[in-house]
Symmetry: C2
């Protein structure tokens, strides 16, 4: 079986090798740029691992792996555009380098390239799962955008949003690997559920790291979510669990238009600490992660066969970045 | 065989019926809006006509027909956004009604919905043709955008651009209908070439009507292309065929930043008339249309069977709108 590092290297090599010779080069340059930014390649690695559970070679699953990674990077490119974000992984976003129209048009090309990779695997069930997932991601992003202007987002709504926006693509990646490997349907579904819960745990951790992560290792300045009043698991719970006095102080920071950013991050973080939402987020994260492991346990393979995937999931939960 | 009017009605009914019950409704409202704007439904009608050449019922080809129409409307929505256009078919554009982010995100959802319709036809060859075509359309749009800031666009480059941006989707629609009907490969290819040339003729006519069309019937105020210095077949030829004196006057209008719009349209139209580019555009349009009819003649079916398609193509060439 391949280690996660070996799979990561194979994914990066395959991404590099598929750089298009098509023209106009200007359409493809932003795509190449965003795909070259690196990252954990979580989705293709999970897809290849799921395939590798049943098959010794992973090369046949590489097109589908590239497909999910390209689609994921498309969502990043357009989310950054819609958020007017400046940086992604320490580099200026596509719309800052080439302009908004390039981010729209080159971005629009990526789902098509992704779908072509999926198609090349030659199994309609892959395309079916991929398209349904991609649509759900769009729905999740719409909810995310609507939450920005709402102050009454519930925890359940938040979980449903990150389920669509993040979890389903991890789940889909695992299922695609399993389908392509010819895994039993029950295993496909168990791996899908494993991905769903792992995705929730992963996103909750992302929210947590945005507040408590270390800039040097996390790669983002902490407090980005706090500054834009993002309705994270922590803010939603802070609002619902605060005493009236804490609620008033929190609301003051949410309404503030003229403030020192560092001061706001520090004050809201202090409120989170007082209210105890970091512990709540950890608890929820662990709950989701435990459900993930339980789903993996339902995959009808010997534990030794599933060890790489299990260790990879665990390492994701211990990340600082 | 079905008439074009019957097919148009069936397409509109099917588009209406597939209105999604998915949530969030806010993601789907702009999609429904743009799909409800009407229009000739050229692409799905051509697809159904191609299918109808070989089969008596067209219902099995409706999903693919909806797929190409949804994809086409996606390109309109995002092109309008990139052009900062205000109106489409007399109604405010999506980004004016719901904002730019809605136009991005709801737009992004449409190729996925389109692909799912194509997938549901159950023939991988359809998806293959659709995805390759969709990518070419993106490439065509990139060229179109780049031409805006170039003054040395050649006629060949222009034809290659409209081939990608317009022709290939008409050609693809015809080919999808033929593939799904089980037509011989040679027929599929002949219908594809028919669509390619018909698409060129259609786009050249669009350029022509933008200058010489009647506002009431064409539905657009004439001269829109002139006002934004769009590198149409006529402008490209005007620049290359002008006498030095005419060229200087034309260049003056292209460079002008402070002018009366009506005066610019009138002056440039007069220059087009002097230089004789309307006749050139007509000649090129007829040349493409003749090639289209020749390709249709190569489809190995009795002429009577092809009559509906031929008459439809002819009616497109006689349109005022």
């Amino acid at each position: 079986m391949f280690s996660s590092d070996e799979l990561l290297q194979q994914v990066n090599a395959a991404l590099e090798a598929q750089a298009s010779s098509r023209t106009p080069q200007s359409l493809y340059a932003p795509i190449h740029y965003v795909l070259s930014m690196g990252g954990k390649r979580l989705r293709p690695v999970l897809l290849l691992m799921a395939y590798n559970l049943y098959r010794d070679e992973v090369a046949p699953a590489m097109p589908a792996a590239l497909g999910v990674e390209i689609y994921h990077n498309f969502t990043l490119m357009h989310d950054d555009l819609m958020d007017r974000a400046e940086y992604r992984r320490g580099k200026p976003c596509v719309h800052h380098v080439w302009g908004e129209n390039a981010a729209i048009l080159s971005g629009d090309t990526m789902p098509l390239l992704a779908a072509r990779h999926i198609l090349s695997a030659g199994m309609p069930a892959l395309m079916d799962c991929f398209l349904e997932t991609a649509i759900q991601i769009q729905e999740g992003q719409q909810y995310d955008m609507e939450f920005e202007t709402r102050n009454d987002v519930t925890e359940d709504e938040y979980i449903a949003m990150i389920h669509h926006k993040t979890s389903v693509l991890l789940a889909c990646a695992l299922k695609l690997g399993a389908i392509q490997a010819g895994a039993p349907t029950a295993d496909q579904e168990a791996l899908y559920r494993f991905g769903e819960q792992l995705g929730l745990a992963f996103q909750l951790q992302d929210d947590y790291l945005d507040v408590y992560g270390d800039f040097a290792t996390f790669g983002k300045r902490p407090g980005g979510d706090i500054l834009c009043n993002k309705k994270t698991y922590m803010l939603i719970n802070a609002l619902s669990k605060a005493t009236p006095a804490q609620h008033a102080r929190l609301q003051q920071w949410l309404d503030a238009t003229d403030y020192n950013p560092e001061e706001k991050v520090r004050a809201v973080t202090n409120l989170y600490n007082e209210i105890g939402v970091a512990a709540l987020a950890h608890e929820k994260m662990n709950e989701c992660y435990t459900l993930a492991e339980q789903s993996l346990a339902q995959v009808a393979l010997p534990d030794s066969r599933k060890e790489v995937l299990l260790q990879y999931a665990r390492s994701l939960m211990n990340r600082q970045s």
